[in-house]
């Protein structure tokens, strides 16, 4: 610094120099030149250099955010037929027009999976003028155009003659243009929530919802992944713009039970969310819940009314998600709809399955009441096959929809397993029934979402019935951690609440003591759960055993449908698929004429949103069936 100041002083005091002084520059003739002989001598571009693109086709999801952000519209998404898109991805890949590209790297900073990068290559020699329209790949997916240091020649430098391992400007999560962190959802802490059935998740307030909605990049990968294809990016955008009514309208186009789905949806969309590739996916489910909760009166917000009466009558058996949806869609089209359900209220499996800490009854009733307010007639406490005969329904109505779900809990069928309690009975009794006395040491058999519901319900009951006493809830599942079917967040929550897991064990025998009371469960180690074809066929190491003590065992290993209400004569006409699902055509119609079906008896996803998707298909099918006939 001092030197610089001295120089400055000198400069300021300077006088006109002599004519000869410039000749001092001759000394530079004897110094090493700063230039070098290109191309025989080269210097590599810097580590952050923004040169030609690289794209990892394996990681790229085809979301198209790069094309959207490009200020010069240099990027086009091109369909690549050879790529078999993974679920929740597109087979489109970015194509760069280097006649337009300004190498700003915004595409790199917006790329959610971080597949698009810039390399340090920047030389392109070609005789063809259109050769700079280019589909970038990288050395992983395009070995033949990337060369090692030895093979690479600068005289051939081209978009398709590149150096391998020559990354330049790459994406960095700290500097991305999207927000990888989710707005945290406020929850009741595990120590507190396990003492009662208080709803675990508190929901977003308006600010939080807006902030979360703002993260959405509108790439719509989620909409592809959603079985019911909800217009997710639209309703999220409406939340961001503070138009909750608009958001609700968008949701109701495809899903008439947002209050339910906003709480318990399996959220296939969140698995597809492009922001979730490296960061946390958008809280799409919580945003839907926010919309549903923020609007007190659906009717006022939606302003819908059914079409003029068509005079057609439709019977819907089962008021679960698929039954409710079919009823809603058909009612809007002007048909008169009657829904039968054996329970005292709507919701079907939603009413008995998800415990109160996940899905309170009020949330269910909000959706059901709205559908009822449109003129759908609900006949609750009416069991088809007992209170009203299926044949009569078939005679009286123009179309029948079966949304009966799977209502019989399967049993493990080992020695003494008749002493176990079945999951659905346990859940129903404790959600809408009188409640149940539980043991101090409970084993839940199963590794799915129902098993988690059962275990966490049991834990709460234990804490309520035996306050300040040592209680234990453990689960035993065939599946090991990596293939456990329950949602990860469910498993996490269960762990936090103190539930013990025993994955990879199968039940061998329910052990009784001398008085005939349950003493525990004898388990054996699982060899494999699936066979080579991926079918469920567990095998065990018979000699590796473990004994778990318990005074109560609950089985939660899956459910089956109950078709007993269908008379024998008709039931023989009902065809099933290889996976023992009811066979339906593209209109949702079963092999029995004018009988349609959807939900858990049709699809293999066994969740609410897929049931809604089935219902949409069936509603269209029924409408077509009813209007064509006349």
């Amino acid at each position: 610094m001092r030197r610089i100041q001295n120089e400055k002083l000198k400069a300021q005091n300077s006088r006109r120099g002599s004519f000869l002084s410039p000749f001092k520059a001759i000394k530079f003739l004897f110094k090493k030149p700063r230039t070098f002989l290109f191309p025989f001598q080269q210097r590599d571009a810097s580590k952050r250099y923004r040169g030609f693109h690289l794209n990892d086709w394996e990681k790229c999801t085809g979301c198209g955010n790069c094309a959207d952000i490009c200020p010069n519209q240099a990027i086009t998404m091109v369909k690549i037929p050879e790529i078999e898109p993974k679920p929740g991805e597109k087979n489109e890949r970015p194509q760069i027009d280097y006649g337009r590209c300004c190498f700003c790297g915004l595409c790199v900073d917006i790329c959610p999976p971080g597949s698009l990068r810039l390399s340090r290559d920047y030389i392109h020699i070609d005789h063809a003028t259109d050769s700079f329209v280019y589909l970038p790949k990288d050395e992983k997916t395009d070995k033949e155009h990337f060369f090692s240091e030895g093979e690479y020649s600068i005289f051939k430098a081209n978009l398709s003659h590149r150096k391998e391992n020559f990354e330049g400007f790459v994406s960095d999560l700290e500097y991305t243009l999207f927000e990888p962190q989710r707005v945290p959802m406020k929850e009741v802490p595990p120590e507190e929530r396990k003492l009662s059935f208080i709803e675990q998740v508190l929901g977003y307030n308006r600010e939080e919802a807006k902030k979360e909605a703002e993260r959405c990049l509108e790439c719509k990968l989620c909409e592809e992944a959603c079985p019911a294809h909800l217009k997710i990016s639209d309703y999220i955008k409406a939340i961001y713009e503070g138009k909750e009514e608009e958001s609700l309208k968008k949701i109701f186009e495809d899903n008439p039970i947002p209050s339910i789905c906003g709480r318990i949806c399996m959220a296939h969309c969140e698995k597809a969310c492009s922001v979730g590739r490296r960061g946390e996916p958008l809280a799409i489910r919580w945003l839907k819940r926010y919309t549903a909760d923020s609007i007190k009166d659906y009717k006022k917000a939606l302003e819908e009314s059914p079409a003029p009466p068509t005079g057609k009558k439709v019977a819907v058996i089962g008021a679960g998600p698929s039954g409710l949806s079919v009823a809603y869609f058909l009612r809007l089209k002007g048909h008169s709809v009657v829904v039968f359900d054996s329970l005292g209220g709507g919701g079907g499996m939603m009413r008995i399955g998800p415990p109160l800490y996940r899905l309170p009854i009020e949330a269910i009733d909000k959706d059901v009441n709205y559908i009822a307010s449109l003129g759908v007639e609900f006949r609750f406490n009416t069991t088809v096959g007992k209170d009203v005969m299926f044949e009569d329904i078939l005679k009286k109505y123009d179309a029948v929809y079966l949304g009966i779900g799977t209502t019989i809990s399967r049993s493990i069928r080992v020695k003494n397993s008749d002493r176990c309690i079945l999951a659905l009975k346990f859940l129903q009794e404790n959600k809408i029934g009188k409640g149940m006395k539980v043991g101090k040491e409970i084993i839940v058999i199963g590794g799915g979402n129902v098993a988690m519901d059962v275990a966490r319900t049991a834990l709460r009951l234990q804490h309520m019935q035996y306050p300040a006493e040592g209680v234990v809830t453990k689960t035993v599942s065939l599946e090991d951690w990596d293939i456990m079917p329950a949602r990860e967040d469910e498993i996490e929550d269960a762990k936090k609440e103190g539930i013990q897991f025993n994955p990879g064990w199968g039940p061998k025998e329910v052990v009784l003591d001398d008085k005939g009371n349950i003493k525990g469960l004898l388990c054996m180690k699982v060899k494999s759960v699936f066979d080579e074809k991926g079918r469920f066929a567990p095998t065990f190491y018979e000699d590796k055993e473990m004994f778990l003590e318990a005074d109560m065992i609950i089985e939660a290993i899956g459910q089956a449908p109950d078709f007993s209400f269908i008379p024998e004569k008709l039931f023989t006409r009902l065809e099933f698929t290889e996976r023992r699902k009811v066979k339906v055509d593209e209109n949702g119609m079963t092999t029995i004429p004018k009988v349609f079906a959807g939900g858990d008896i049709v699809n293999i996803n066994l969740d609410a949103v897929t049931a809604i998707a089935d219902a949409k298909v069936a509603a269209e099918g029924i409408h077509k069936f009813l209007t064509q006939k006349s």
Binding site: Q5, E7, A11, G17, A25, R48, Y49, C104, L177, L217
Partner: protein, 365 residues
């Protein structure tokens, strides 16, 4: 003698770029000079209205090819002022370093242009080579040599790479050692002195009246610099002088430029010393959804050529409703230049024009 019309540029070695002047001459003397801009008009201000707040930031640097960083900075600062974004402290220091490095690079480029035009090829090549070292530094920091696209609303795009500070210090020392050579061969060269002295002379009052800024104003003795008048970034936390000269001619202007390089080096060194650790980027909202509340702003910085301002209006949308750049060359090149050329020799056209430090893309935008 007969009056002639003479086209000077855009293809002329003495021209500052894609710019031309129509000269009305009588013999060797210029009667009238009519600037003829438009060769580089790309309509950036209009294009900006069609692109969102983030898409615009790789755009603006192209308005000044020689010193793109002040453009990026003024845009980022305008967006930040509209959206009330506070930039992390470290980012402010990095921005200051980048802006001063850009000023150095620009002045070296200016020295090259001037020396080259007058035939001082040796110092011209030195200046170009030294500028190249700055471009190397920029390449390492930002990933590009000319259009750095580095300063964005919310901070800067990446933190300094490892060892960058040392490299900058090393370069500054090397440059300071070079200064006597520059002085002897160019700034204090007798031939150059004779050539530039009393050429394109502006009086103090005239400079103020013609709204001159930068070296053009400071060479007449007015101590005016946005960095002092209205400090932005961290210019109020570093010590530096504003070099002035009183003669107002081309020679004074080039000496102001030379002295400013020394001041820039001082600022960079202080920034490197004082720079805190921490974040360099405060993430702005999702670029596809980002809307900025209704409002207008005028932000100005001292670019290498003078006062650079950006007037920007948001109508509550996700694009600027209007953006207008106040660029120093616009004034110097279109308004002051014809006044100075009147009565000058044809041989001095390039001399005067380059001493005004005009850069053509700033005029056209």
């Amino acid at each position: 003698m007969r009056e002639l019309e003479l086209f000077f540029g855009p293809q002329h070695p003495g021209m500052v770029g894609n710019f031309s002047i129509t000269l009305k001459v009588e013999g060797d003397r210029i009667l009238e000079a009519i600037p003829n801009p438009g060769y580089l008009h790309r309509g950036f201000e209009k294009l900006m209205e069609l692109r969102n707040w983030i898409q615009n930031f790789p755009f603006v640097c192209r308005i000044n090819v020689i010193e793109p960083d002040s453009m990026e900075a003024v845009y980022a600062m305008a967006v930040e002022s509209l959206a009330n974004i506070e930039v992390p402290e470290r980012a402010k220091y990095i921005r200051t370093i980048v802006l001063e490095l850009a000023r150095l690079a620009s002045h070296l480029f200016g020295a090259w242009a001037y020396a080259n035009m007058l035939g001082f090829d040796t110092p011209a090549q030195w200046a170009m080579a030294d500028r190249d070292h700055i471009l190397d530094l920029f390449e390492e920091l930002t990933g590009a040599r000319v259009y750095h696209i580095y300063i964005l609303p919310g901070g800067v795009r990446r933190d300094l790479p490892d060892g960058f500070e040392e490299k900058v210090m090393h370069f500054l020392h090397a440059l300071s050692q070079k200064l006597p050579d520059y002085n002897e061969t160019f700034f204090e060269n007798r031939i150059f002195y004779e050539r530039a002295k009393d050429i394109g002379k502006i009086k103090k009052e005239e400079a103020i009246e013609w709204a001159a800024t930068g070296q053009v104003l400071r060479a007449t003795g007015v101590k005016y610099d946005i960095r002092k008048v209205e400090p932005y970034l961290v210019y109020d936390k570093v010590e530096f002088d504003i070099p002035t000269r009183s003669n107002g001619d081309a020679y004074s202007r080039i000496l102001v430029i030379r002295d400013e390089m020394v001041e820039s080096a001082k600022i960079i060194m202080q920034c490197i010393e004082k720079m805190p650790k921490g974040k360099v980027y405060e993430r702005t909202p999702n670029p596809f959804k980002w809307k900025i509340a209704k409002g207008e702003t005028y932000v100005r910085v001292e670019s290498a050529r003078g006062e650079l301002g950006l007037y920007m209006v948001s109508n509550g949308g996700n694009t600027p409703y209007r953006a207008y750049f106040r660029t120093p060359s616009f004034n110097h090149g279109l308004f002051i230049l014809p006044k100075l050329l009147k009565g000058a020799n044809i041989a001095d056209v390039g001399n005067i024009m380059i001493s005004l430090y005009v850069v053509a893309p700033e005029i056209d935008r």
